[in-house]
C-alpha cells in the first residue's frame, strides 16, 4: 500500500474524532456538489459520538464480528451538523507534462446534505477573478448550477452533463461533483488490516446496484478504523482499470470538526493530478439564504 507524503495529525483512539461530511467536501473543493458525494461514499461515522449511530456500538465493539459496511455508510450520511460553513482553497491542476495551473477560491455553504446551497467565488488568477458558481442541491431533484462570468456580466445555467467528463479541466468528473444516493450502491467490507498513512483502515468495496447509476464499475474505499474518515479511494472503470485515485491528508480539527487540509485526485491513465489545499475554515457563520441567489452571484466581493 502506497504511503502518503504526510501522516495525519489525527491521533489513534481519540473518541471525539468523527468524520464530518464537510471534511472531504471541503477538501474536494470548489464545487459544492462534490461535498455530498464524498459524504456518502467516503465518510464513515464515528459510532461512539454520533447520536444516530449509537446503535452500531454493539456491532462494532463485538471483537469477532466485522462491522457492517452499509451501516457505516448510512452513518456517514447523517454526519453533518453544521448550519453553514466557509473556507478558502488553493487548487493546483497538474497536467501530464507537469505544468501546474493554480486557482484560488472561497467556498461558502448553507444547509445540509440533500438541501444545501453553495457559492464558490474565484479569487485568483486575475483571468478568473470574480467568476462565481452557485449550486442548489435538493435530494431527488436535479442539481441546479449557475455560473457568473464578470468579464461579460452574464449568468449562465450549467446543464447536467455526461457523468464521466472532467469538470472544468480538473481531475474530478461531473459524477464526482454530483450528490449520490446511498441506495445506488452495495457496500461490502473486504479488508480490515490495510495501513494508510500509518493508520489502520477498513477497506470497503462499493458496487453500483445498476450499471446506469455510475460511470465506475466499482470503488474501493479506505476508512480509518479509529476515525471514520475516508483517507483513500480507488475508482475503477468498466474495464476494471483504475480510473481515479483519491487521497486525503493533513487532517486537522477546527471548531471540533476534523478536516483534511490536503486532498489529491489523480487520473493514472492521463498522468494528471488535482491537489486542493484548504485554509481559513469557519463554521456556523450565520450565512443568509439571500447570499445564495442569482442576484448575489452577480455581486462582486
Amino acid at each position: 500500500m502506497r504511503k502518503h507524503d504526510r501522516i495525519s495529525r489525527l491521533g489513534p483512539g481519540n473518541p471525539q474524532r468523527s468524520c464530518n461530511p464537510l471534511l472531504v467536501a471541503f477538501t474536494l473543493g470548489f464545487i459544492p456538489l462534490i461535498w455530498s458525494h464524498i459524504q456518502v461514499v467516503y465518510c464513515q461515522p464515528h459510532p461512539a459520538t454520533h447520536p444516530l449511530t449509537s446503535d452500531l456500538r454493539p456491532l462494532t465493539s463485538f471483537p469477532y464480528l466485522p462491522p457492517d459496511a452499509r451501516k457505516i455508510m448510512e452513518g456517514v450520511y447523517r454526519q453533518d451538523t453544521s448550519r453553514d460553513s466557509s473556507w478558502r482553497a488553493v487548487m493546483d491542476v497538474r497536467d501530464k507534462k507537469g505544468v501546474v495551473r493554480q486557482k484560488q477560491f472561497i467556498f461558502r455553504k448553507l444547509g445540509s446534505l440533500g438541501d444545501s446551497k453553495t457559492l464558490v467565488r474565484f479569487t485568483d488568477p486575475p483571468e478568473v477573478r470574480g467568476v462565481g458558481l452557485l449550486s442548489i442541491n435538493r435530494k431527488g431533484v436535479s442539481e441546479r448550477q449557475w455560473m457568473y462570468t464578470p468579464a461579460i456580466q452574464r449568468i449562465r445555467r450549467i446543464a447536467p452533463q455526461e457523468r464521466s467528463r472532467k469538470f472544468l479541466g480538473t481531475d474530478f468528473t461531473n459524477e464526482d461533483m454530483a450528490e449520490r444516493v446511498l441506495d445506488d450502491f452495495e457496500y461490502r467490507l473486504i479488508g480490515m488490516s490495510d495501513l494508510m498513512d500509518g493508520r489502520k483502515t477498513y477497506k470497503i468495496e462499493a458496487k453500483p446496484v445498476a450499471s446506469d447509476r455510475t460511470q465506475y464499475k466499482f470503488s474501493y474505499l479506505w476508512v480509518v478504523q479509529d476515525l471514520p474518515y475516508v483517507v483513500h479511494a480507488e475508482m475503477y472503470d468498466a474495464r476494471g482499470r483504475v480510473a481515479r485515485i483519491y487521497h486525503a491528508a493533513d487532517l486537522d480539527r477546527i471548531a471540533g470538526i476534523w478536516i483534511a487540509r490536503r486532498v489529491e485526485m489523480t487520473t493514472p491513465s492521463e498522468g494528471t493530478r488535482t491537489i486542493l489545499k484548504i485554509d481559513d475554515v469557519r463554521f456556523n457563520l450565520g450565512l443568509k439564504p439571500d447570499q445564495f441567489t442569482q442576484q448575489a452571484l452577480e455581486k462582486a466581493e
Binding site: V93, D95, K97, R101, K103, F122, P125, E127, V128, V131, M147, T149, P150, A151, I152, R154, R156, R157, I158, A159, Q161, E162, R165, K166, L168, G169, E270
Partner: protein, 853 residues
C-alpha cells in the same frame, strides 16, 4: 442484316470523320452542360447539408428560428421538456480575421461546459481537453481554432488572433487547437469555437441564440419529443432534424437551381439540331448508297434502323464524353454556384470536390442518346421511304428540296400563338411544369415554321448580298436558298442558341434596368456602410455603437440603420427589412404604390403597420388592408398592411417595418447596413475617405458612395447570372459547331460545283470568299430568327418565369441593343467556324472535283 449494314455505317464514319466527330461533340457539349450544372447543384447542396450535419454533431433535433435567432429563455423551456437529454445553444458567425488577407473564419459559439456531449472536438495530442476550461469560459477573448487554420496562419496556443467583431477589431487568445475531424472539418477547416455567451457579446447578438441543438433520450421516440417541443415553443420557432434543415436551404436556393437546370437543356436542344442536320445531310449524301441497298433487297425498316443505330451510337459516345467532360466542368461550376449561394443567399459551405451521382450520369446519358435518336428520327424515316429507282440516279437528279407546306406553316404559327396566349392570359400559379410548357409550344412552333422563315429571310438578303459582295455573295446566298434542308437545321441550332442568349441577356438587362430605376428612386442616401462585400452577411452584423459613432461625426445629418433578415413565413421564408421608418419616409417621394401613402407615413414609424413589396403581394396574395401575421420568437406580431411598394430586395418578397418594432419582437438590435445622409455641402468622397480612415483596421466594413453602391448592387446581379453567362457561351459554341458541320457538308456536296467554278477561272480567293459568305448568310438568317425567338422567350421569362420564381413584374424590353451588339460577334464566330471548310474548298483538286458525283 444489321451486322452487314453496320459495315456500311463504319465506312461512312471513316469517310466523314470530322463531321462525325463534330456531331458527337455537339451532343457531348449539351450533355456535359446538363451534367455539370446538376452535379454542381447537388455538390453545393451536399456541401451545405454536410456543413449543417457536421455542425449539428450528434444532435437528433434542432430548434431554429429566423435568421435573427430567438431569446435565450427558450433554452430553459427546451431543457425542461421531457425526453430532452442534452440541449445546447449555438451561434454561428462567419467572421474575418484582421490579418492582411482578412481570411474568413467560421466561428461557432457553443457552451463548452456541456457541448462536448454533442459535438466532436479532438484536441491536439498534447491536450485531451481545452487547456484551462475555467479561463476559457471566464475570458470572452478565448477562442479555440482548428489545426488547418492554425497551420495556415502559423498560430499556436496562447497566441493572439485578431478578428473583426461587431464591436470592431478584437484580439482573441487561442486556448486550444483541435484536429480537423468532426466540427473541425467544417468550412474547409477554417473554423473556430468560442463560448456562446462571449459570442453573443462580441457579435452583438443581444441575448439571442441562433439555434439549440439537442439530444433526445434514446428511450423516448424522437417524434414524441419533437411533438412536445412544438406544442410548447412559440410559433416562430421550428423543431427540425438536422438532415431536414438541408431541405430548407434547398428551398431558399431553389430559384437559382431551377433556373440553371432549365437553361442547361438549351445546350442539348442546340445539339439536337446539329444531329438532325448531320443526319439529314447524311441521308442526302447517301441517297445513291441507300438506293443500291434497297435494290439489293434491304428492307425499308432496316434502312431506318441503320440510321437510328448510327444515331444511337453517336449519341451514346457523345453522351459518354459529355458525362466525363461535364464532371470536370462541374469543378468550376461548383465554385460558381457556391459563390452565388454565398454572395446572394449568404450560405457558407465547405469547399467540396464534385459529387459523382450515377443517377445523374445515367439521366444525362439517356437524355443525350434520346436527343440523338429524336433528331435522327425524321432523316431515318426519309431514308427508309426513299424510292430506290430515283435514288439510283446521280445526285443532281434528285428532286429539288421542298420547304414545308402551308398546313405545317399554319400549325407552327398556331403553336406560337397559343404559347403566347397562355403566357399573356394564364394565372400566375397553375403549376411550374405546365407554365414551362408555354415556351415549349413557342419553340416547337418556331421549329416548324423555321425552313419557310429561313427561306424568306434568305431571299430578302439576296439583293443585299449581291450588292455588298458581288457574285460570290450571290452564289453563297443561292446555295443557301437551294438547300433549305441543309441550312435550316443549322439556322435552327443558331436560333435556339441565340434565342437563349438574347432572352437571357434581355431578361438580365430588363431586370437590371428595373433595379437601377428603382434604386434611383429609393436609394438616395449619400453613403452606405455594409457588413460584407457580398449581398449581405447572414451572421456578421454591426452594433448600434458603430452607428452612433458615425452619427456623431461632423457633417452627418442623419444615419438610418437597416436590418435585413429572413423570417419563417407560411412554410417558406420572407424577407424583413427594418429601418427607422420616419427617416426613410422623409427621403422617399410617394413610395407607396398601392394604399394610403399618408397613412403609411403616419402609422409605420409608430410600429402600427407594415408595408409590403409588390412581389410579396403577388407571391402570397396579400392585399392592402389585410392583417399580416409574422411569427416572432417572442410571439406573433400582427399588423395591417398599409401599403404596397416597389421593392426588389428579395425574390422571397419583403415586409417593411419600423426598427423599434422589430427590436421589440425579435430582440435583435443588429445592423446590416448603415445609411448615411450628409449635411448639404459635405463632400461624399472626402467623407468616405475620412470614414475609411476611422474604421481601417478596426471594423470590417465596406463603404460606398451612392453611385458606388448602385454599381455594387448591379455587380451582384451579374454575379447571380454568372452561370447563365457561361451557358450562353456554351450554347453559342455548340451552334458554331453546327455552322462548321453544315459548311463542311456544303463544301463536300458542292465539290463538283466548286471544281467547275475553279475550272472556268474562279480564283482560290473567290472560292474561299464564297464559303465564308455562306457562313455569314447563315449567321445573319440565324440572327434574325434568333432575335424573333429571343423576343418571344424574353416575353415568357418576364411574364411567367419571373413571376413564378420571384413574383417580380418586369417590363418587357425588346433586346435591340443586345442584338445589334451580337451581330458582329455572331458573324465573326461564323467566319471562324467557316475557316476550316473554306480551306477544304480551296484545297480541292479541280480535276477530281469535276469528276465527283
Amino acid at each position: 442484316m444489321i451486322r452487314a449494314l453496320s459495315l456500311v455505317t463504319r465506312r461512312q464514319w471513316d469517310r466523314h470523320r470530322l463531321r462525325t466527330g463534330l456531331t458527337m461533340l455537339g451532343i457531348a457539349l449539351g450533355v456535359s452542360v446538363i451534367f455539370a450544372v446538376r452535379t454542381a447543384n447537388i455538390t453545393l447542396l451536399g456541401s451545405l447539408r454536410q456543413t449543417i450535419e457536421k455542425l449539428a454533431g450528434t444532435a437528433t433535433l434542432q430548434v431554429i428560428g429566423g435568421e435573427s435567432g430567438f431569446p435565450e429563455e427558450v433554452l430553459d423551456l427546451v431543457r425542461s421538456t421531457i425526453g430532452v437529454q442534452i440541449a445546447e445553444p449555438v451561434i454561428e458567425v462567419v467572421a474575418h480575421t484582421a490579418f492582411s488577407d482578412e481570411a474568413s473564419l467560421m466561428v461557432i459559439g457553443v457552451d463548452t461546459t456541456g457541448d462536448q456531449e454533442l459535438r466532436e472536438y479532438q484536441f491536439d495530442e498534447s491536450r485531451s481537453e481545452i487547456g484551462d476550461p475555467l479561463v476559457y469560459v471566464a475570458q470572452p477573448d478565448s477562442i479555440l481554432i482548428s489545426r488547418p487554420f492554425a497551420d495556415k496562419h502559423g498560430l499556436k496556443e496562447e497566441d493572439r488572433l485578431p478578428l473583426f467583431t461587431s464591436h470592431g477589431r478584437k484580439e482573441f487568445t487561442i486556448r486550444g487547437i483541435f484536429k480537423p475531424v468532426g466540427i473541425g472539418e467544417v468550412f474547409g477547416g477554417q473554423v473556430a469555437v468560442m463560448d456562446v455567451y462571449s459570442a453573443q457579446f462580441v457579435f452583438d447578438r443581444g441575448r439571442n441564440f441562433d439555434r439549440i441543438d439537442l439530444m433526445t433520450d434514446p428511450e423516448v421516440p424522437i417524434e414524441t419529443v419533437e411533438r412536445r417541443l412544438r406544442d410548447q415553443l412559440p410559433a416562430g420557432l421550428e423543431v427540425t432534424r438536422p438532415a431536414s434543415r438541408g431541405e430548407g436551404i434547398e428551398n431558399t436556393v431553389a430559384a437559382m437551381r431551377q433556373g440553371l437546370i432549365i437553361t442547361s437543356f438549351i445546350a442539348l436542344l442546340v445539339g439536337l439540331f446539329i444531329i438532325f442536320n448531320a443526319f439529314s445531310i447524311s441521308v442526302n449524301q447517301r441517297w445513291k448508297e441507300i438506293g443500291v441497298l434497297r435494290a439489293l433487297g434491304v428492307e425499308a425498316p432496316n434502312i431506318q434502323r441503320m440510321f437510328l443505330g448510327e444515331a444511337a451510337v453517336i449519341g451514346m459516345l457523345g453522351s459518354l464524353i459529355g458525362v466525363a467532360g461535364g464532371f470536370y466542368i462541374a469543378v468550376g461550376a461548383t465554385e460558381v454556384v457556391s459563390g452565388i449561394a454565398s454572395a446572394v443567399y449568404g450560405y457558407a459551405s465547405t469547399p467540396e470536390p464534385p459529387i459523382f451521382r450515377l443517377d445523374y450520369a445515367l439521366e444525362a446519358f439517356a437524355a443525350g442518346t434520346l436527343t440523338s435518336l429524336v433528331a435522327a428520327w425524321l432523316p431515318a424515316r426519309a431514308a427508309a421511304r426513299l424510292n430506290p429507282a430515283l435514288a439510283l440516279h446521280n445526285i443532281e437528279t434528285r428532286q429539288p428540296e421542298a420547304v414545308l407546306g402551308r398546313p405545317r406553316m399554319l400549325a407552327g404559327l398556331g403553336l406560337i400563338l397559343s404559347g403566347l396566349a397562355f403566357i399573356r392570359f394564364s394565372t400566375p400559379r397553375v403549376g411550374l411544369m405546365l407554365q414551362f410548357g408555354y415556351v415549349v409550344l413557342i419553340v416547337l412552333g418556331l421549329i416548324i415554321v423555321l425552313p419557310m422563315l429561313a427561306q424568306w429571310i434568305a431571299r430578302a438578303l439576296r439583293p443585299v448580298m449581291a450588292w455588298a459582295f458581288g457574285p460570290e455573295g450571290l452564289l453563297a446566298i443561292d446555295t443557301m436558298i437551294k438547300a433549305p434542308r441543309r441550312t435550316s437545321a443549322t439556322v435552327g441550332a443558331l436560333m435556339i442558341g441565340l434565342m437563349f442568349v438574347f432572352s437571357t441577356g434581355a431578361y438580365i438587362q430588363s431586370y437590371q434596368n428595373l433595379v437601377m430605376r428603382w434604386m434611383d428612386r429609393t436609394i438616395n442616401s449619400d453613403l452606405f456602410v455594409t457588413t460584407s462585400e457580398q449581398a449581405r452577411s447572414r451572421t456578421y452584423h454591426f452594433s448600434e455603437a458603430l452607428s452612433q459613432r458615425i452619427a456623431a461625426l461632423p457633417g452627418v445629418k442623419r444615419v438610418e440603420n437597416v436590418r435585413f433578415t429572413f423570417v419563417p413565413f407560411a412554410g417558406d421564408t420572407a424577407a424583413v427589412i427594418t429601418i427607422e421608418m420616419d427617416g426613410w419616409f422623409d427621403r422617399q417621394h410617394h413610395p407607396v404604390e398601392e394604399g394610403d401613402d399618408r397613412l403609411a407615413r403616419e402609422l409605420l414609424p409608430k410600429g402600427e403597420g407594415f408595408v409590403i413589396a409588390r412581389n410579396f403581394s403577388t407571391r402570397w396574395g396579400t392585399r392592402v388592408g389585410d392583417r399580416l401575421r409574422l411569427e416572432s420568437p417572442t410571439g406573433p406580431l400582427e399588423r395591417p398592411v398599409i401599403g404596397i411598394i416597389e421593392d426588389y430586395s428579395s425574390e422571397k418578397g419583403s415586409v417593411f417595418m419600423d426598427r423599434e418594432l422589430f427590436k421589440t419582437y425579435w430582440r435583435d438590435s443588429a445592423i446590416d447596413f448603415i445609411d448615411i445622409n450628409l449635411l448639404p455641402g459635405v463632400d461624399r468622397a472626402a467623407f468616405k475617405s475620412e470614414l475609411q480612415r476611422m474604421l481601417a483596421g478596426e471594423q470590417r466594413a465596406f463603404i460606398y458612395t451612392n453611385d458606388e453602391y448602385k454599381r455594387w448592387v448591379m455587380s451582384l446581379i451579374d454575379q447571380f447570372f454568372t452561370l447563365n453567362y457561361m451557358q450562353m457561351v456554351v450554347a453559342i459554341f455548340v451552334a458554331a459547331i453546327g455552322i462548321v458541320n453544315t459548311l463542311i457538308i456544303s463544301v463536300s456536296e458542292r465539290r463538283r460545283e466548286i471544281g467547275v467554278i475553279r475550272a472556268i477561272g474562279g480564283l482560290r480567293g473567290q472560292v474561299r470568299k464564297m464559303v465564308l459568305l455562306e457562313a455569314v448568310a447563315i449567321a445573319i438568317v440565324g440572327l434574325v430568327v434568333g432575335a424573333l425567338a429571343g423576343a418571344l422567350n424574353t416575353y415568357f421569362l418576364i411574364r411567367t418565369a419571373a413571376v413564378i420564381l420571384a413574383g417580380f413584374t418586369i417590363p418587357f424590353h425588346f433586346p435591340a441593343t443586345l442584338i445589334i451588339i451580337s451581330m458582329p460577334i455572331v458573324v465573326v464566330i461564323a467566319l471562324a467556324a467557316a475557316w476550316l471548310p473554306a480551306r477544304h474548298a480551296v484545297d480541292l483538286h479541280v480535276a477530281e472535283a469535276i469528276g465527283y458525283e
